[in-house]
C-alpha cells in the first residue's frame, strides 16, 4: 500500500473513513526524507524529533485544503524547512543569543549528541557547513546530500534557480577552503 501515489493518498485523506489511514501511509512514505532534511538543519536528534512532529501536525492540519498546484513532496519540504528555521530562531530568542552563537551551539551538539557517530572527515564537513550563512547551508545540504534539482529547491525555498546556483557555488568554495585548513 506504500506504493500509492500522492493523488491517491490525497483522495483517501479527503474521505473521513480512510483519513487516518491515508495520513499514516503518507507519513511512512516521506518521514525519512523529511527527518534527514530537518536533522541537517537542527543537528540534534531530539530537536529533529520535535521539529518533524510539529511539521507532521501542521501537515495534518493543512492537507485537507492542499491545492494540487505543486507536488506534496515540495509542500512537505517547505513546511519542514520553515519549522526547522523557526525552531532555530526561537532557540536564538529564548536564550537571547547573537546570530553566531546558535551555530556555536550546533557545533557543540556535533561533538556531544549521542546519535552522531561519523568519522573525522564527516564531522569536519558538518562543522564547515555550519559556518555557512543559513541560506547557503540549506542549498548546500539539499544539493550535495539530497541531490535535489534546482527547480524543486526553487519551489521549496522560494528563490530563483539562478540565485540558488550562485549560493551553491559560493557554499562549495567556502567549504573547500575550510576543509583544506588545518
Amino acid at each position: 500500500m506504500s506504493q500509492l501515489s500522492d493523488s491517491e493518498l490525497l483522495k483517501m485523506f479527503r474521505n473521513p473513513d480512510t483519513k487516518h489511514y491515508a495520513f499514516n501511509l503518507l507519513v511512512r512514505k516521506y518521514q525519512e526524507r523529511l527527518y534527514w532534511h530537518i536533522r541537517k538543519i537542527v543537528i540534534s536528534h531530539d530537536d529533529a524529533d520535535d521539529v518533524i512532529q510539529n511539521t507532521l501536525m501542521k501537515v495534518w492540519g493543512g492537507l485537507e485544503t492542499f491545492r494540487e498546484d505543486s507536488q506534496i513532496f515540495t509542500w512537505l519540504y517547505r513546511i519542514a524547512t520553515n519549522e526547522a528555521l523557526t525552531f532555530l530562531k526561537k532557540k536564538r530568542t529564548r536564550f537571547l543569543l547573537p546570530l553566531g552563537d546558535v551555530e556555536q551551539q550546533l557545533m557543540r551538539t556535533l561533538e556531544s549528541d549521542p546519535f552522531i557517530d561519523g568519522d573525522a572527515t564527516q564531522l569536519k564537513l558538518q562543522k564547515a557547513i555550519l559556518q555557512l550563512p543559513e541560506k547557503q547551508r540549506l542549498v548546500f545540504n539539499m544539493k550535495y546530500f539530497e541531490e535535489m534539482k534546482y527547480e524543486e529547491m526553487s519551489e521549496i525555498l522560494g528563490t530563483s534557480v539562478g540565485a540558488l546556483k550562485a549560493s551553491f557555488h559560493h557554499a562549495v568554495k567556502k567549504i573547500e577552503k575550510l576543509m583544506e585548513e588545518d
Binding site: 495520513f23 525519512e32 527527518y35 536528534h45 524529533d49 501536525m57 546519535f115 572527515t121 564527516q122
Partner: protein
C-alpha cells in the same frame, strides 16, 4: 565539488533503533490528543458563552424589575409641573387684582381669539384653559 576532494556523501547522524517504525504511531497519538483538546476547548468556549448569556439574562431581568419598581416614583415626579404652576400663582397671588381679572375676562369676551387678547396686554402673563384666560401677574414680577 568536482576536481577537488570528493567527500563521502554520508551523514554522521543516526537515529535510535526502530525510530521510523514508531514515528507514525507517535504522530497519530499526538493528533488524537490535539483533537481531544480541541473538543474540550470547544466545550470550554461553549460553557463560557453560556455563562455570559446567563449573566446577561440575569442583569436584564434585574433591570426590568428595577424599572418597574421605580416606575410609580417616576410617575409622581412627572406630575410636578402642575405643582409648579400652582406655586407661581400662589407666590404672585398677593398682588393679584380682581379688577384686572374682570377686565381680562371682559377683554376675552370682546376678542375673537386668545391670541388677540394676549396682544392687547403683552406685559401680562396668562394661564390658558379651555374657555378663559387668567392673568397671573406682570412678567417682570415673576421670580422662581
Amino acid at each position: 565539488m568536482k576536481g577537488k576532494q570528493e567527500f563521502e556523501r554520508k551523514l554522521p547522524f543516526r537515529v535510535p533503533e526502530g525510530y521510523f517504525d514508531e514515528l507514525p504511531t507517535r504522530v497519530q497519538k499526538r493528533i488524537a490528543a490535539s483533537e481531544g483538546q480541541s473538543q474540550s476547548r470547544k466545550w470550554v468556549t461553549l460553557k463560557s458563552q453560556l455563562a455570559f448569556a446567563a449573566g446577561f439574562a440575569f442583569m436584564a431581568l434585574l433591570g426590568y424589575f428595577g424599572y418597574y419598581m421605580a416606575r410609580p416614583l417616576m410617575h409622581n415626579q412627572l406630575e410636578r409641573p402642575k405643582t409648579d404652576y400652582v406655586e407661581i400663582v400662589s407666590r404672585t397671588i398677593y398682588d393679584f387684582d380682581d379688577i384686572e381679572l374682570y377686565r381680562a375676562v371682559e377683554n376675552k369676551k370682546r376678542s375673537d381669539s386668545i391670541k388677540n387678547a394676549m396682544q392687547d396686554m403683552p406685559h401680562r402673563l396668562y394661564i390658558r384653559s379651555s374657555n378663559c384666560i387668567t392673568i397671573i401677574d406682570e412678567k417682570k414680577e415673576i421670580k422662581p
